[in-house]
C-alpha cells in the first residue's frame, strides 16, 4: 500500500503514463481509498489539460515582419562579408 507521500512522488510518472503495471495498480488502489489523493490526481490532470487547451500563440504580423527583416539584414551582411573579392 502506497502512502500519500509515495503517491505524490509517483504522480508525475503516472500522469505521463510512465509507470509499470505493478506501480499503476498500487496507485489506483491508493486513490480508491484516499479521497484527497484522488482529488489531487484529478485536479492535477485537469491543470495540465487546461494549459494544453490554451489557444496557440499567434505571432503578431508586425513581430513577424520585424523578425524577417532582422534575419534578412544578417543574411545580407553574411553574404557581403563572405563574397569572393
Amino acid at each position: 500500500m502506497l502512502t500519500c507521500k509515495e503517491f505524490l512522488q509517483e504522480l508525475n510518472d503516472y500522469l505521463d503514463d510512465a509507470v509499470d503495471i505493478e506501480l499503476r495498480r498500487h496507485i489506483e488502489a491508493h486513490i480508491t481509498e484516499c479521497p484527497n489523493c484522488f482529488v489531487i490526481l484529478d485536479t492535477t490532470k485537469k491543470t495540465i489539460q487546461v494549459y494544453k487547451g490554451m489557444q496557440p500563440q499567434v505571432l503578431p504580423d508586425e513581430v513577424s515582419s520585424r523578425l524577417n527583416r532582422a534575419v534578412e539584414r544578417m543574411l545580407t551582411q553574411k553574404r557581403n562579408s563572405t563574397a569572393p573579392r
Binding site: 484527497n36 485536479t43 495540465i48 496557440p56 532582422a70 534575419v71 553574411k78
Partner: protein, 207 residues
C-alpha cells in the same frame, strides 16, 4: 530504402544543411516554422512582450551564427529552444537585477510539494470564464512560479517537449526535470483550485 520526402513534407535536416551552406530561403523556412513557438515560449518565460520579441530575434540570429555547431544529433527545434531559454533567462536576470535567477538554483527539499488545498473542481472549469479571463488566470498562475519551475513547465506541458528533450534544452538532468515539473504542476494545481473549485465542496477535502 532511403526515406522518401513526400511533397509538402518538411525535410528538416535537408533545410538545416542548405541553410548552413548559406541558402537564405531554407533558413527563412525554418524561421517561419518555429518562430510562433519560440515567441510563445519566450513570452511565457520572460512574461514580457518586448523581451519576448528580442529573444525571438536573438534566437534566430544566434542560431544562424552557430549553425556550424549544430551536430544534427538533436532536433533543430530542441537546439533553438535551448538558445531561446538562455536568452529568456538573461532577460529575466536583467529585469530583476537585484535578484538573480540561476537555472540551477538549489532546490529546497520538498516543501513545495506540500499540498495545502484539496477541493473538487467544477466539471468544466474553463467554461466559468471567458477566453480572455481564462487566459489571464492561466498566465498569472504560470507567472507566479519561480523561473526554475516555470521553464520546465513551459517546455514540458505547454510546448510539449519530452522529458529528455527538456533536459537537453535546459542542460539539466532527467531527474531534475521530473522533480521540477512535479512541483510546478502541483503549485499550479494549487493556484488554479482557487478559481476552479466547486462551490460548497471544500468540506470534502477534510473528510
Amino acid at each position: 530504402m532511403p526515406a522518401t520526402t513526400e511533397p509538402g513534407i518538411f525535410d528538416e535536416s535537408e533545410l538545416v544543411a542548405k541553410a548552413r551552406e548559406g541558402d537564405t530561403a531554407a533558413y527563412n523556412q525554418l524561421v517561419n516554422k518555429y518562430s510562433p513557438k519560440i515567441y510563445r515560449l519566450a513570452k511565457h518565460i520572460t512574461q514580457h512582450e518586448e523581451d519576448a520579441e528580442d529573444v525571438l530575434q536573438e534566437t534566430f540570429l544566434k542560431a544562424f551564427e552557430h549553425l556550424g555547431d549544430f551536430q544534427g544529433q538533436s532536433k533543430f527545434y530542441t537546439w533553438i529552444v535551448r538558445i531561446a531559454v538562455n536568452e529568456s533567462l538573461m532577460k529575466l536576470r536583467k529585469r530583476k537585477s537585484d535578484r538573480t535567477v540561476p537555472l540551477d538554483e538549489p532546490l529546497d527539499t520538498g516543501e513545495d510539494t506540500v499540498v495545502r488545498e484539496v477541493a473538487v473542481w467544477d466539471e468544466n472549469p474553463e467554461q466559468k470564464y471567458s477566453r480572455e479571463e481564462l487566459g489571464q488566470i492561466l498566465d498569472e498562475a504560470v507567472q507566479s512560479l519561480r523561473p526554475v519551475f516555470r521553464t520546465v513547465f513551459v517546455l514540458r506541458d505547454i510546448e510539449e517537449l519530452s522529458t529528455e528533450e527538456t533536459a537537453e534544452a535546459l542542460g539539466i538532468s532527467i531527474p531534475a526535470v521530473k522533480s521540477r515539473l512535479l512541483r510546478a504542476r502541483l503549485q499550479l494545481r494549487e493556484k488554479l483550485t482557487r478559481f476552479f473549485k466547486r462551490k460548497g465542496d471544500d468540506v470534502f477535502a477534510y473528510l
